[in-house]
Symmetry: C2
C-alpha cells in the first residue's frame, strides 16, 4: 500500500464517515432511537482514545504471561494470578474489591510426557501431552496396538472383541470449511471430552486424540477430558496434528509389522483446594442494585502462558472498568469485573459466582474468552435482548464492530442464565484462535497490542451502553 493510496483512502473514508453521520442524524430524527447519538459517540471515542494511547491491558498481560505464566487451578501460579489481579483492581481504586472463595480441582501434569510409535523394527517419537483430568499411565507407560476411528459410531461397529486391550486413536479433524473456527471446534470436541469414556466401554486401555486445531503443526493441544465412575478410567493424551497424520499413514501401510503405540504420563488428580474468583466493581449511582458483569477466566492450561486463553479476557475485563473510570464515567448501574477461577477443568468459579445472582439482580454478563484478536462483534443469548442491543450498533460501527447477533455467551457466565441474566459473548476474529489454544505457544508474543486494546474498548463501550440504557 502506498502513501498516496492511503491518503485517497483517508479522504474517501472521511467523506464516507460524513455521509454516515448524516444518515445517522436522519435515522435519529425519523426513528425513535432511544439514545443520545452525540453524547454517547463522544464518550465512546474517549474510551477508545484512552485504550489506544494510554492503555494498560497490554502491559498487564505481559506481567500475567511472562512473570506468572500458565496458571492451572490449584497451582502456585493460579494463586499468584489471584493476588496480582486483586492488587490491580485495588490500585485502580475499583469499589468493593474482594476474593470469592471457591474449591477447585487440583490436577497436576507431572513429568513431561513421552510417546513413540513402533512399526516392525522402526520406532518414532510422537509429540503428545496428557489431556487435562486424565489419569496417568503408571510409571512404565502403556503400549498396545492402535485402532484408528473417526467417531463413536465407528468405535461401536468395531466392538469389544476388536477394541479390547488396544489404544483407541480418535482422528477426526476439525472441519476447515466452517468460517467460524469455534463451530469446527465444537463439532470435533466430543473426541476429547468423551473419548476415554466411549473407548473404555469396549475395553480400550488408552486413548490418543488428534489435537483440536485447524493448523498443521507439531504442538499437542491439551484440554479437559471426562470420566464417569461406572466405567474404567483410562489414560488419554492429545497428539499433534502432524504426528496424527503420520500415525494414520503408518496404520494404513500394508508393509510388514503391526503398529503399536507407547505413551507415558504421570499426571494425577489431587484433592480439591481453596482458590478464588477475583471481583471488583464501579458502583452504580442510580440503579446500583442492577449488575452488569464483564469477565474472563483467570486460570489457564499449564503448558503455555494462557495469553489468548484467557489472559486476554482477564486484562480486557479490568481495562474495561479502568477506561470507564479514567473517562470520568459515573455509571448508572453497577459494572462489575469478575475474574473466574477454573474455567478449564471444572467451571467451579462460574458456578460459585452464580450463587450471588440468587439475591443480586444480574442484568447482563459479558465474557471475553475467545482470544485477544481484532474485534468483530458481540453475540447475545436472547432474541429480545439482542434486538434491544442492536439499536446501538451504529455507535460501535466506527470502531469496526460490525454486528450484535443472536447466539453467544461464555462458559463462566453460563450458570447466570437461569437467574435471568442476559449472556453476551465478546466475539473477536476467530481464525487464529485454535493455532494457539491449549498449547505451549499460547504466549504473550502472539498478542497484538492494538487488537487487545480494541477489544477492551469494545467491551467497555458495551458495558457503558447497558449501564446507561439497560436492555429494553
Amino acid at each position: 500500500m502506498s502513501v498516496t493510496q492511503a491518503s485517497i483512502f483517508t479522504k474517501r473514508t472521511i467523506q464516507s464517515m460524513k455521509f454516515q453521520t448524516v444518515l445517522l442524524i436522519l435515522a435519529t430524527i425519523t426513528s425513535q432511537v432511544g439514545y443520545s447519538q452525540t453524547n454517547d459517540s463522544i464518550f465512546i471515542r474517549k474510551l477508545y482514545s484512552e485504550a489506544l494511547t494510554k492503555g494498560e491491558c497490554y502491559q498487564n498481560l505481559r506481567y500475567l504471561c511472562t512473570q506468572i505464566g500458565g496458571r492451572l487451578s490449584g497451582s502456585p501460579q493460579a494463586e499468584q494470578a489471584v493476588t496480582y489481579t486483586y492488587n490491580l483492581m485495588k490500585n485502580n481504586g475499583f469499589d468493593t474489591v474482594y476474593l470469592q472463595q471457591v474449591m477447585v480441582p487440583h490436577w497436576v501434569r507431572g513429568e513431561k510426557e513421552t510417546a513413540w510409535v513402533t512399526k516392525g523394527k522402526e520406532q518414532k517419537r510422537m509429540r503428545v501431552c496428557a489431556l487435562g483430568n486424565s489419569v496417568g499411565t503408571g510409571p512404565n507407560g502403556i503400549e498396545a496396538p492402535v485402532v484408528e476411528v473417526r467417531n463413536f459410531d465407528e468405535l461401536a461397529k468395531l466392538g469389544r472383541t476388536y477394541i479390547s486391550g488396544k489404544i483407541v486413536f480418535f482422528n477426526r479433524p476439525m472441519n476447515p470449511e466452517y468460517i467460524q473456527t469455534g463451530r469446527a471446534y465444537g463439532e470435533a470436541g466430543n473426541q476429547r471430552g468423551q473419548g476415554p469414556i466411549e473407548a473404555a466401554k469396549y475395553g480400550a486401555i488408552g486413548v490418543i486424540v488428534r489435537s483440536l486445531t485447524l493448523a498443521n503443526d507439531t504442538n499437542p493441544h491439551t484440554g479437559m477430558t471426562n470420566y464417569v465412575d461406572s466405567i474404567p478410567k483410562i489414560p488419554a493424551c492429545a497428539i499433534s496434528t502432524v504426528d496424527a497424520d503420520e500415525l494414520s499413514m503408518l496404520l494404513k501401510l500394508k508393509s510388514a509389522g503391526s503398529v503399536t503405540f507407547y505413551f507415558r504420563q504421570t499426571c494425577q488428580q489431587y484433592p480439591d483446594v481453596l482458590s478464588y474468583n477475583v471481583i471488583g466493581e464501579l458502583k452504580g449511582t442510580m440503579n446500583p442494585e442492577e449488575i452488569i458483569v464483564v469477565g474472563g477466566h483467570l486460570d489457564s492450561w499449564d503448558n503455555g502462558q494462557g495469553a489468548h486463553d484467557d489472559g486476554a479476557g482477564v486484562v480486557q475485563s479490568i481495562e474495561a472498568l479502568r477506561l470507564l473510570q479514567k473517562s470520568g464515567y459515573k455509571p448508572k448501574r453497577t459494572i462489575r469485573c469478575v475474574l473466574f477461577m477454573n474455567e478449564e477443568n471444572g467451571v467451579r468459579g462460574g458456578i460459585e459466582y452464580a450463587t450471588l445472582a440468587k439475591t443480586q439482580k444480574h442484568l447482563a454478563a459479558i465474557e471475553s474468552d475467545a482470544g485477544g484478536f481484532t474485534p468483530r462483534g458481540f453475540g447475545v443469548s436472547d432474541t429480545s435482548a439482542c434486538l434491544a442491543l442492536q439499536q446501538f450498533v451504529p455507535l460501535l460501527k466506527p470502531y469496526d464492530i460490525d454486528y450484535i447477533k443472536q447466539g453467544g455467551g461464555g462458559t463462566d457466565i453460563g450458570p447466570l442464565r437461569k437467574h435471568g441474566c442476559v449472556l453476551i459473548g465478546y466475539i473477536p476474529d476467530s481464525q487464529r484462535y485454535f493455532d494457539y489454544h491449549h498449547t505451549a505457544i499460547d504466549t504473550f508474543d502472539k498478542i497484538n497490542k492494538r487488537e487487545l486494546e480494541l477489544g477492551a474498548a469494545a467491551i467497555s463501550s458495551l458495558a457503558y451502553i447497558i449501564s446507561e440504557y439497560g436492555i429494553k
Copy 2:
C-alpha cells in the same frame, strides 16, 4: 473457550443462520433483488470449500517468499517472480497468459546501512535503512547535528539559518487513535515521501524519518521517497521507532554535549530496465469484451520477503481465478488476473497496464494490497457502483464479509479510473499490517493460512458476482 460453549455457539449460529436464510428469502420475495439467492449461495460456498480444503495460495506464497524472497523492481528476484507466476497461470490453464513489457526503475540498496548517534563521549548504534529511491551518503557517510521536527511547518519556522548543514529528523508518529491503520499511515506519510525535498529547501544535508508503524519496535521500515530536480537530492533513511524515541530523548536532555548523527548508505539508482506485468484470464462466454481485473503487485521491498506486501495479493489473485475454474464456472464476462510490476517505487506497471483500457472495456478492477489478513469487506470508488454492489452483501455475510463501502481502490489499478473502470479495494483487517510493512520481518511465517485463503475466496466471490451481474 470450552467445547460445551463452542457447541452452544454452534447451535445458536445454525439457528441464527436459519433465521437469516428465512430473512433472505423474504427479502428476495418482497424486494427486487436482481440475483438468484440459492444458486449464487451454493456456488460461493463451492468457492470457499475449494479455497479452505484444497487451496493452493498458501503453498504458492511459501515459494514466492522463501524460494524467491524480496523482489524489488529490476532485481533478479523480480524476474524470477515474473517467471514463477507466469508458469503458475500457464499450468493452471488460464487463457491468454502473457507478459506485458514495462520499463522500471532500478534502485539498489547496496551495503547494509550503518548509523550511530553521538552525544558528548557516548556513542550508540541506531537501526536504520535507506529509503527507497534515496541517494547514497558517499563511501564515508555523513555526520551532522540533528534537528528534530514533527512536520513541515516546524521546519519552515526554524528556517534556513538553523537547518543549513544539519540532518533533519522527522519524528511525527502515526496516530494510534485511528481505528483504520491505513488512515494513520496516510497522515504520517508525507514525512517519508516529501521529507528530503522539504528539508533540502533549507539546506539540510540528510534526513532521518521515523519508521511508519504503530509498533514500538527495532525494525526500520523502508519505503519510497521522492526528489525534484530543482532541489538538491540529499540522502534519507528510516529509523526504527525504538531508536527514534531514544534519539528524541537524547535531543531533549540538557546534559553536556551536542547530538550528532552519522549514517552511511551506498544505495544507488541505475538506468531503467525492462520488466513485466504478468497477465492471464478466464475468457468471458457472453460478454468477453467486458473485463474484470483482479490483481496485486509482484514487486516488493528488498529487505524482507514481501509476504503481506504484496505476495498475499499476488497469490490471492491467481487463486481467485483458479477457484472459479475448479468450481466449473464459465464466466459471462472476462475475469483477468493482473500482477503489476513496480508498485513500490514508480507504479510503472499500473500506468502501463492502464493503456490497455483505451481499447478494452474495463468494467471493474479489484486490488488486494493491504495484507493477507482476515477479510472485513470491500471499498468501492464510486457511489452508484457501491450501491449496486451492496445488494450482494447478504451473499458474502456468511463468510464474515461485513460490508461493501464507499471509498477504496489500489495504487496499481488507480490509473484505470480515468477510463471509467470501477475501482475496488479488498479490505482485510488492518491492525497488524504496519507491524510488518516494508521491513525485514514481512516474511512468510507472518501469514495465517486460513486468513489468506478466506481473502482469496472473498475476491473470487466478488469477481463472480460482477461477472454474472455487471455493476448496475
